[in-house]
Amino acid sequence: MSGPAGPLLLLVEDSAADARLVREALIENDMAVDLRVARDGHEALELLFGAGGGSASLTPDLILLDLNLPGVDGLHVLERLKADARLRQVPVVVLTTSAAARDVGAAYDLHANSYVVKPVDFFEFVDAMRSIQAFWLGLAQGPPPPARA
């Protein structure tokens, strides 16, 4: 994304349409965000931990995590994140279609920071995205920058 470098937001979402809707919602909310999209759990882990080739690892300001992913699923990604000293400080908002108590409980067990069920109506979704941004990238005090080695 070009323009002013806003907060870095990693979206882990396998559906291109849903990823596009997140992007459109961010535009509707007129908020500058550096949005990176991982299309599955494997890609997300590569981005966050750095691929074997030694490319730089990513430390987003906020992660939006879908649970239902092909291959490495969202809960597994969450588990890996929260087991990592650097990444466990990054707030993770689970953004998914499942309202099943089982999924919600599993996500919080793995230390998800919040759990949001995607509204079906687009404008409700825009509102939900606005709230997420306002809280996690506005009101909430984020983790301090990592100490220099």
């Binding site: 559906s15 349409a17 849903d18 809707l21 459109e24 279609t97 995607k118 079906v120 109506d121 687009f122 404008f123 979704f125």
Partner: protein, 461 residues
Amino acid sequence: MPDRRDDDPLTTAPDPAARLRSRLDRERLARHEAERIAESTLREVYVQREDLQLLERVARAANEAENVDAAIGRILTDLCAYTGWPVADALLVEDGVLRSAGHWHVADPERFAGFRALSRATDFAPGVGLPGHVLAAGEPAWIPRLAEDESFPRRHAALAAGLQSGFAFPVLVGHEVVGVIELFATAAAEPDARVLDVVAQVGVQVGRVIERERARLALEAANGALLETLQDVERSNQDLEAFAYIASHDLQEPLRSISGFVQLLARRYEGKLDPRADEYIAYTVDATARMQALIKDLLRYSRVGREAIRREPVDLAAVLDRTRRSLTQAIADAGAELVVEPLPTVVGDATQLAQLVDNLVGNALKFRSQAPPVVRVRAEREAAAWRILVEDNGIGIPVELAPKVFDMFQRLHPREDAPGTGIGLAICHKIVERHDGTISVTAREGGGSCFSFTLPDGPAA
């Protein structure tokens, strides 16, 4: 015979000794006669008592035995004891022929083993052999001398075992011969009317046992079939609910995309395409919104059916407070008045009951007439339940359609007049059903309708 003169001393012969002797003779004769009568009466009584005892024992066996086999077994033993005959067996009709039912009473198993084995292995068609004759005629048959009866197929085996005579009688259910019982003796015996008379009654008794068994089997089969049907229905209901849940859940995924992009189209491109495109987009937006509402209600419906319901005290007055708050806008828009009379605390699932009341009050507001809407909620005490009534002065429901309104997707009004998915009242019905109550609607005098449901008292706390 008494002599008139003997009783009159004035006209009899003067010999007192002769007179005494003759009197003694007469008395002896009279006593013999009396004894003979007494003995014969006694014998008669005794025989009748035996008959009665047999019938009593048979009746007891018929009533007490756990099943047909046990009853027949006991009765064969009783018959042999009664007749003094050593061999008895029962045959039951199966596929139109008489077949040994495996019931035997034999006094000397070793001696009669050959005859028994042959009898067990033989099927008797109507008219064949002693049992076959009884089956065909429906009446008892008696063979005084087996040796002389050419039509008795088991003659050789019978004679080898020393059996000389036999008789058989039908086991009757109504007029139908369902079996035959036969007895055999080791001496020749002429037909005995008394015995035939008694065993005819035994045959009817055994028939009763079989009839009872048949009825029990039929009832069991019917019960089994009913239970199976019930289980099928339950299973298919569960399948249906699971299907509804999964389908609607998975339907939401693509729908969110459709709805999202068509809403974006409407928002970003309205007026930038031609008017017809705007119209198409508007219809699509409208249709997706309806689809969303449908799916949401379907999910709600299946959730009401699937989820365990809680049984806790629910203050209906508090529920109505919440309803009033959540319907504030609708009440204001309709210019309606919601009157809530004192309501009890009932036992049920708070969330579901709130959904129920919201739906009913919401409906009352939606189907309003020209008059300013007045919705009244009140409670009536019934024998072991509360009846909650939601009355309105709206457009009402035609009586003939009243029972249908609780069906899924049942709409009485065009969509344009009354938006809705047609699932709301089906959800209400389901909620009340899960609370073991009933829901109904009646037309009110002077217009409007009255929806009412019952909530049975829970077990005493």
